[in-house]
Symmetry: C2
């Protein structure tokens, strides 16, 4: 199959090891098990004893009952039978696209967002149209445009809510309008929801709002555990039945340890979300201060999402600027051209506050030295 380079991943793979101040990533400071046990007040001894004696066999093919129940509890309308465990959200998106689409179908993809959501369908011979985010509409795409893009063979709309890189968030009224369009044309709505907006106190999931809505999520972003490769699909039983056939071909199951950690963490989802909300708010205040004081930087403030898309008032090519920023100032951001947007950089501001502050002040130095 033909695929372009995965722009963001290539950039991060190439450069993240050489950064002193890495403010490029989209995660919220990853947890150790020690921190997880401290946070949840669970007993490490009991966990390790269980792990020690557990056969490392194929385990629970679709995720353990504890896992499925805990995930269902994150939603308003889902039961354990509506949940399928996958190898991360990457595995979940891939599974849904591979299972439900085929050559000749048409899809409409929120753009820019997670590159997988448009380039995997294209590689399979699916026609893809981009539904562009608009900086002048606070980085939301236009619902009227969406209606005009529907064709007779449109089978799926893919969104990323909240959005990476922009940090924009589709509210419930916005989603309801979007779903009305999808329902009218009987179209699947795939929503990659790994970037929780802490401006909302619960997941705003399309699976809860629409019978052909498919909600994708994972332990990697909102729950700070990317090192367990656990994601999931939440969808109707009809859709889950279709996906089951394809899981046997693409993944079989996730790991025994990974399911144990995910189940434990999700039992205390509220504590993890509180911890991460505090990080997002503290760090967003630091970013906001910097934006206010830096004449050459501006943004639409992200909706308490872990990434921000910052406009820089410079003439230099954005990737050249980002490379110089890394080489001369040790600071890593993602240049906007990797999302097909010049003049912007993605800042992942949910790292350690001192790293964020140091990185931002180095961007200012670099901007100053352009003159």
């Amino acid at each position: 199959m033909k695929l372009p380079v995965f722009g963001v991943e290539e950039w991060l793979n190439q450069h993240e090891k050489s950064a002193v101040y890495d403010i490029a990533g989209s995660s919220i400071a990853s947890l150790t098990l020690e921190e997880l046990f401290d946070l949840t007040q669970e007993q490490p001894q009991a966990f390790y004893q269980q792990l020690h004696q557990k056969p490392l066999d194929y385990g629970w093919i679709e995720g353990s009952p504890d896992f499925k129940q805990a995930v269902a509890g994150l939603y308003q309308q889902q039961k354990a039978r509506n949940i399928l465990q996958t190898n991360g959200a990457t595995g979940a998106n891939f599974l849904v696209i591979y299972a439900l689409l085929e050559a000749g179908d048409h899809v409409i993809a929120h753009y820019p967002s997670y590159q997988q959501l448009y380039d995997i369908p294209a590689s399979l011979g699916v026609e893809v149209d981009y539904w562009q985010t608009r900086e002048d509409q606070a980085w939301l795409p236009d619902l009227k445009e969406l209606g005009a893009m529907i064709r007779p063979n449109t089978k799926m709309i893919m969104i990323n809510n909240a959005n990476n890189p922009t940090g924009a968030y589709m509210t419930k009224p916005y989603l309801e309008e979007l779903i009305n369009i999808a329902r009218e044309h009987d179209i699947y709505l795939l929503s990659d929801e790994v970037y929780h907006s802490f401006a909302s106190d619960h997941l705003l999931a399309v699976a809860d709002l629409y019978d052909k809505g498919i909600s994708i999520n994972s332990m990697s972003k909102t729950f700070s555990l990317p090192g367990i490769r656990v994601g999931w699909v939440a969808a109707s039983e009809t859709i889950c039945d279709q996906l089951r056939l394809y899981r046997d071909y693409t993944m079989i199951c996730t790991g025994v340890f990974d399911d144990m950690v995910a189940s434990l963490a999700l039992k205390h989802a509220d504590k993890l979300l509180q911890r991460n909300q505090a990080i997002v708010r503290t760090n967003l205040a630091i970013l906001e201060d910097w934006i206010t004081g830096e004449a050459k930087a501006s943004y639409h403030r992200p909706n308490e999402v872990s990434t921000a898309f910052v406009r820089l008032d410079i003439d230099e090519d954005i990737e050249a600027f980002a490379l110089r920023l890394l080489e001369d100032y040790g600071t890593l951001v993602v240049p906007g051209n990797r999302f097909n947007q010049a003049n912007h950089v993605r800042i992942g501001y949910c790292c350690q506050p001192q790293i964020l502050q140091a990185g931002l002040s180095r961007i200012s130095q670099c901007l100053k030295n352009i003159q």
Copy 2:
């Protein structure tokens, strides 16, 4: 994409929970961590201490240096740079097929073997021809037939060596003839090598024998650790470079814990292989005894591989027989129709010896009661 049901997985998923005597699986008794530490004489305390404090972040994207070095050491010609870690062999096969093939290509697939190897290419619009195993040639496919099947657009040959379900093994001279045909036509050779034959004291890997040979393996079968989802590709640097682009879209990375366990286990590969060789030999002797004494069962003795394909001299439809065997005798095998072969059942004989003995004696009872 259009895929048929994954015959073996569907059968196992539906029935394995209700079996008293499960002699259907292809694994060699999965290890617990306790057993792994006992076997390797590694210190559990040190391992758990390290695990406790390790950030559960994305970790080593392609596998840790320890992992890659240990895997390379299983081969004759491979270096760490020729190894890419994947989410199991399932993930590895998927990655290779998705990355290197496209609609309109032609492939030739060893048949029957792992269903993924022919049905994934077919789903992507690749033309697939089956290269049939022959019971009258000890379950090896015919090399002369292979030559005649090559077309101008043939891009890949896929084999499963040793073979599941038959337990047949392609020796080095056989592989060299096969490679001569592939080389003459400049064709990739993908070899799923997860079923090590303990008749050989080392992996007989196509990556060591051919520059377009791609060796797939995992921790699940030979190393008895399916609950860590770790597999790998061993191939030339040119091929690895092509696959790298696609890993970002399909998996990103495997888990932090899974890599730690795999690295520890592979450091003691010799001890794990000795343990499993002993299980295979002991249990194969039990199976051989049963075959000798059971007039209605016969087989080509597997080459010290964990599965055997046993012919049953009955008139009943094989899946109906297998269902009756499960319901009335509590014994699970895989009916041969799931591999498109009537009259046979796959027996996974590397379970606990007492389970094997009980299961085999119940097959005899079931056969006796047909009369």
